[in-house]
């Protein structure tokens, strides 16, 4: 019997959903509101050297990769399954577009984090 690949996508959806539910709102607040406006947090938190050092550290690199890729897989899976509710057939084309864009985003994140170096 052919094994279904659904559990893999479901797992990525669940992990991304959990991660975004745990710290997503705070991340948005930090990177998008607190630091750019300089409230609570210093604006120099997003200085090039500081963020580069974070992205060159293996733990920081892993954190950035997990956040970006899991958020992408979470939303891709959710959008894919909601298409059906909107009367759009959740066939191979929709699947390729949804999961494909998450896959491309994951590759782009990998390449960027690789280029940044260690």
């Amino acid at each position: 019997m052919k094994r279904s690949n659904a559990p893999i996508f479901w797992l990525l959806f669940g992990a991304g959903g959990m991660l975004s539910a745990l710290i997503g709102a705070m991340l948005v607040f930090i990177t998008g509101i607190a630091v750019p406006t300089g409230t609570i947090l210093s604006r120099n938190l997003l200085e090039f050297e500081r963020v580069q050092a974070l992205a060159q550290n293996w733990a920081g690199k892993g954190f950035l990769f997990i956040i970006i890729s899991l958020f992408l897989w979470h939303s891709a899976h959710r959008i894919f399954h909601t298409l059906h509710d909107l009367g759009i057939h959740a066939g191979i084309v929709a699947k390729l577009i949804c999961y494909g864009s998450a896959f491309v985003g994951t590759l782009l994140a990998l390449r960027a984090l690789w280029t940044i170096g260690f």
Partner: protein, 132 residues
Amino acid sequence: MSARRPYVRPMEGWWKKNPFFVEYMVHEGTALFVAAYAFILLVGVMKLAEGKAAWDQWVLWLTSPFAIVLHVVLLLVFLYHTWTWFNIMPRTLPPMHAGGKRVSANTITVTGLAASCAASLLLLLVCWSIAR
């Protein structure tokens, strides 16, 4: 082939008729905003790989009024996502038992929200202590 045209019930806007399904569509819709934020971060990491000039330009964009307003909207939607995620969790988890009794739905939701608050505060504290 015959010209038979069976009646197909239209499904346009079916969810608008019931508040339960409206909420369902709204919480499913949070995925678009999660994707948008992931995309913003992805661009940031790509700019970081390009070098200081590109990165500084991205940070400058973050301070633009459009970006700030966008992030306020993102923040509200993410908070809603957090709320619904843990609200639905009792129905998505397999039944859990503790001390011979099934863990109540309310306990699961409250624990999840508490974990989210703790993790978020920790993250904020770490960022605050790095750059004071």
